[in-house]
Symmetry: C2
Subunit: 344 residues, 2 copies
């Protein structure tokens, strides 16, 4: 079967590998219906570490169960499932508290020895703890939206949940990629009254408005901070959802956060430090967030997709086949596509 590997900066290849099989009684094997390329897949696309071996790619998938191990109770061949971006046991203390990304038996996809999910099929460890059954057919028009439950929609929502967005809040969303746009959806779901999206890309800010953004700020850094302060009587916003991960983005997030407010950070930190100095002590700024336990949010968010309340699948503005996945990487790296769907 075909699977995606990265060999170096900008060097994405599709290779034939052996078909996955059940290795443990808790495994399942799924045949992919759709997968996609994540903003985080671009980290090593931009800058592949010298001397590193090839890396299996992809951690977002939706597919049909083909086989299950002897201990798998909740799934059978033919079930359509979405797979969150890490595999988690579902029974340890962290899974029970809803923090499946700290599962004591966590297994990764797309790196650290985990399977490539940008592939025609995949072995899913901890199938009962990890996978979620979908109540639609594999050709439903809702499939792209349901695929976003594997990562970006839940990641954006995690920013809003951890930051504690409440009805009536003002919210700044920093970042107009798929996670930032999902954070807009999350902030709206939590009742934000005003959502300021930092974006300088017209197609993205238009989709952001469709998702609930009330204001677009195109400036960054000091100018962007001043603009958001202007929009909020000098106070900043109650919540800031940081969906980029650069030093500039987190610095801006802290600066535009209102006294007593909070920053939910879900951008994968490329920075080492957050500027939480004496001034932020005086302002009682909270910094929260982290890698999203997508598994925890899937059942909560799925109904909004099924009933049409939200349409996160619109973020897929490019569709490729597995053979052309490298063009999807390139388009996202060039920012000509928000997010590329891989159709099998």
């Amino acid at each position: 079967m075909k699977a995606t590997y990265m060999y170096g900066s900008g060097d994405v290849r599709v290779e034939n590998v052996s078909y996955p099989t059940i290795l443990k009684p808790t495994d399942a094997v799924i045949r992919t219906v759709v997968a996609c390329v994540c903003g985080s897949d671009l980290w090593d696309y931009y800058n592949f570490p010298a001397g590193r071996e090839r890396v299996a790619k992809g951690h977002e998938t939706l597919g049909l169960v083909e086989a299950v191990g002897a201990d798998v109770k909740n799934f059978k061949p033919g079930d359509l499932v979405v797979v969150p971006f890490v595999a988690s046991c579902g029974t340890c203390d962290f899974c029970q508290m809803g923090l499946q990304t700290s599962c004591r038996s966590i297994e990764f996809f797309g790196h650290d020895g985990g399977a490539a999910l940008q592939a025609e099929a995949a072995r899913i460890p901890h199938a009962d703890g990890t996978m979620v059954k979908l109540p639609v057919a594999a050709d439903s028009p809702l499939i792209p939206s349901l695929l976003t439950l594997s990562d970006v929609l839940c990641t954006g929502y995690h920013a809003a949940v951890t930051a504690g967005v409440r009805p009536g809040d003002t919210v700044t969303v920093i970042g107009d990629g798929a996670v930032g746009l999902s954070a807009v959806i999350g902030a709206k779901k939590k009742g934000a009254e005003r959502i300021i999206l930092v974006s300088r890309h017209e197609a993205r800010s238009a989709l952001g408005r469709e998702y609930g953004a009330t204001d677009i700020v195109t400036e960054r850094d000091a100018e962007g901070i001043a603009r958001i302060k202007d929009l909020t009587n000098g106070d900043g916003t109650h919540r800031v959802l940081e969906a980029v991960g650069t030093q500039s983005a987190i610095d801006m997030a802290i600066a535009v956060c209102r006294a007593g407010g909070s920053v939910g950070r879900v951008g994968a930190a490329q920075y080492q430090n957050v500027p939480l100095d004496f001034g932020t002590i005086m302002r009682n700024i909270t910094v929260t967030g982290g890698v999203a336990p997508a598994r925890h949010y899937i059942e909560e968010l799925m109904p909004d997709i099924l009933d049409g309340t939200i349409n996160p699948g619109k973020m897929f503005d490019m569709t490729v086949g597995i053979d052309d996945i490298a063009t999807g990487y390139k388009a996202m790296a060039d920012r000509t596509a928000i997010k590329a769907l891989v159709q099998f």
Copy 2:
């Protein structure tokens, strides 16, 4: 009347100044019963900025109302009151949300042009918004404990509240000064099951145990981190209350915080940055806390003092008169006293 001023590093003087009077209709004038020296009073004691004018000292007081302005509705001469460490209007949006330290009409004591509260009397701005009446006589044995409502007890409690200490939690408290010891009281009030106090000072750790600490860790930095990990099966604690404010203390706080946990920081930050890198994103670490809105907590904490549940007044292990206040500063700076009470 006598009031305390600092002129330089280690140079604390008591001077005669004119008696305070009502300047605004919302003011009160109180005659001091007890005041005290705060750990934060030592910042400029250690390192007074060159070229700075003298600074009025003291922001914790308890006294008898002598006079009130025409608009003061809740107090009359003779009332015994405790005064939190900033004056707040009680009516703006920040005061209404319980963040009086961000009051839109905030006035400070002890610096920024505010009155010295280490003084025989003081003008209290925003009397109705700021002061809280005490249901005891001025010679009650509870007076030292009630004085801690002006700052340290509420500050320690704020760490526990913002960090979200819940029944059954494990908690690390970094710092064995009056705020750290108050954080132990706060963690216990919130139901912590295990409270690890980082302290290498015997008298302080003994009082910490009395207040609810279950474990004492005497090591700092890497050794202290390893010790706390050992005590918690390698996980760290659910909550960390940081009551020091140095880079070393906040670094340790982050390192010993359990995945999904939170750090409540109330130590006045002498650092510029908190090490919130990619690893802390993966662990979903929250950093919260800040300067405590003491006014918000006074009514909640006072009953615990009145009924004897807590005895924070035991932190005052030295009592001085106003003429000898410099000896109180020196003892605290030398760490021979936890906290000095000034008896008038």
